[in-house]
Symmetry: C2
Subunit: 425 residues, 2 copies
């Protein structure tokens, strides 16, 4: 029986053209995170299952993870998200770390779900986390890095919105309505799923949970700005802080920041601001990035508590965002020069010429087969290599070479140092 | 019960200081591979187990892999090596690819083994593969990239040897001795394990396999160069090709290339040259890199055959190599400037100043807590940040700032553009 050449369901092969796009996205992420003082870390793909049970919740572990028993009978899980690992690492080095700590990573994660637009089983997710004092300036900074990444990739501010809410505010509102803890929890979970149901069904479900307080809840959820909230419900904890954060983001140029009371985020660990970056094009209906402030992620590890704020940005939705916007460039190879010889006589010189280019930082693919030039050119083009040099008798004698730019269809002749200069410019 | 902060056995947490070393190694790998015209690809971490059964062999799958059943009842495995995946991908795009194809990747791989020096359960392995015509120049190039990576990382040629042998030659030798296929196979496996047993035990085991031909085998294995082989056994297939390869490597400056008849490589798929890069320091007794030529890796996929040559270079042994040689630099953060304020009055300006730096490509960590300057400096140093700027009343008024270099203990004062220039140089 012949083997299948297809990758496992929900995973992807990254041929060089595909990887070029991943690298484009990851390089922008790295550049922006580092500009804001975040440093890169990484953690193991496999963790003991207990870690995720404690952090991500039973439901995710039981239904959505790759969990199995290793040969030593330990329950292990392929990480479905990075937050539990980063919390473990912070706890592990709690004493040695100089806070505030700004960390980022772009791990691959695994979820067992039915592959669909925007969701795969293996995906990469940028994680950007700040650990330290609870100040609104750090909220602003963390949220701003996500927006800066999109701008770095060529997006305009009108291409996305920054939707912001506050768990503190939500809790104050629930308290004002005198909801029980159970009602509050159910309502939060329902609001988080709002996009997945019709508005009729949503309102009926709200009524089931809060009974006669439905109008108040709908007034809150439909508020267009914080003034409306204040007018209807008066002062509440969390309002001022959220206002500070939103105003500062706008002051920093992000007028696409919108107070959006229905932003909840699924995880229970959020305690302050929560936010999502959303494509303004309805063809891309999932959050490009999402996160929020958490009071204490290391509490389970028996170390002094530390709060922070962080978010995730997945590669699949981001790629869709860039694709819809026409922001994915045409593929060109990282190889700059395709180098070949006219006949067997010149084969011996290819090595030396290639090395001279390489010493100047030029990347060269040397071809030792003898073929007609048009066939060579076709190969170079098919490989996405932009420049072409073929060595014949004259070239060996004069040490002058002709560089053909295959995109611009232009030729230039010169010594190696001349050609290097052209390629470097 | 409190959760453990330790990573799962045989895996590692990469704190920023650790990740800096991974990045140092990976950047050298990427740079050199790209200089030689190799382009980056990636593949899924999970593959169907059948793929590894067919390519890596039953023994590895049954004893050394993370293999489990997914929720859809499929047998899947975390890749123990990248070669089966790259073969699958080449087969998948066999018709579209322009050969020769030069590909590299630095995937993480998993093996279920007892963690020990040089071996862990989760490790990263550079894979550098050439697919196309079977020419000795491509053997030379592929081997040379491995050596060039070590040089790029600061190693001297005397720090390592390039040990080279040929499976073609081995087969010709077995044929000359008239060994049965079973004898040949057992002998190869034994030679591959030579380093793991005493020489007495090794010789006894050889005798058990080849009986009275033991002396011939030992003469072959103890040969210091190819002339000795020729003198003792006459011409054999594979000798000339291997001589060409070794001579060209030496001509290219790698006098540390040694014909080493006992280099076998474990996998069955090798057909031509096989090679290993070995630390000359006995404290690091595992191969830094190893690979060889394979005739046909895509045959199992029902597509036209294609040969190639490739190798793997693992992060664990390479790190040991660099560590022994003192080639691991002291950690400095990717964050260039630690920016803070003297009092609450200046807090509002931090954002704007930081953004001005960032626009010029400078990475800045902004600190919004008010503390005594020495405490700030201590934090900056603990975080590995080299430069320090603190904003007070005068700075806000004059728009002139003082940059403290914490390593060199030097100060310079100027406008932002002056400070940017200092940091860029």
């Amino acid at each position: 029986m012949k083997l299948s050449t297809q990758p496992y369901k929900g995973t992807r092969d990254f041929f060089p053209e595909d990887l070029a796009i991943q690298k484009l996205m990851f390089n922008a992420m790295k550049k922006i995170c580092e500009r804001y003082g975040y440093v890169e870390y990484d953690g193991p793909l496999i963790e003991k299952t207990d870690l995720f049970r404690a952090k991500s919740g039973e439901e995710i572990v039981n239904e959505q993870t790759y969990t199995f028993t290793d040969r030593g009978n330990r329950d292990v899980t392929l990480r479905p998200e990075m937050t539990p690992t980063v919390a473990r690492m912070i706890a592990r080095n709690r004493q040695e770390l100089a806070f505030p700590v700004r960390w980022y990573s772009i791990p691959n994660c695994f979820r067992y779900e039915n592959p669909q637009r925007g969701r795969l089983r293996e995906f990469w997710q940028l994680n950007v986390d700040f650990f330290g004092k609870d100040l609104f300036q750090y909220d602003v900074e963390n949220i701003q890095t996500a927006a800066a990444i999109l701008l770095e990739l060529g997006a305009k501010k009108s291409d996305f919105n920054i939707l912001v809410n506050s768990r503190t505010l939500m809790n104050a509102f629930y308290k004002k309505l005198e909801l029980t803890q159970e009602q509050s929890h159910s309502l939060s979970k329902l609001i988080d799923r709002k996009n997945k149901m019709s508005s009729d069904k949503f309102e009926t479900a709200i009524e089931e949970i809060v009974k006669d307080k439905k109008t108040a809840v709908m007034t809150f959820l439909n508020a267009k700005n914080m003034a409306e909230i204040k007018d209807n419900f008066g002062e509440m904890e969390g309002l001022n802080r959220l206002e500070q954060t939103i105003n500062k983001l706008k002051e920093n140029g992000f007028s696409n920041t919108l107070f959006t009371p229905e932003i909840m985020r699924g995880f229970d660990y959020y305690t302050g601001v929560v936010f999502e970056l959303f494509d303004t094009d309805p063809k891309n209906p999932r959050a490009i990035a999402g996160g929020g402030r958490y009071d204490d992620l290391v509490g389970l590890f028996d170390v002094e508590r530390v709060g922070g704020i962080g978010y995730g940005m997945g590669d699949v939705v981001l790629r869709d965002f860039l694709d819809i916007r026409g922001l994915l460039p045409k593929y060109t190879s990282t190889t700059q020069v395709y180098l070949c010889a006219l006949s067997e006589n010149e084969l011996n010189t290819l090595d030396t010429i290639a090395e001279e280019f390489r010493k100047s930082g030029i990347s060269v693919a040397t071809i030792y087969e003898i073929q007609k030039v048009p066939k060579h050119i076709k190969r170079a083009e098919k490989s996405g290599i932009e420049n072409f040099v073929c060595i014949g008798e004259d070239e060996v004698k004069n040490k002058k070479y002709t560089l053909k730019n295959l995109t611009e269809r232009k030729e230039k002749t010169g010594f190696i140092k001349d050609i290097v200069k052209i390629l470097q410019s």
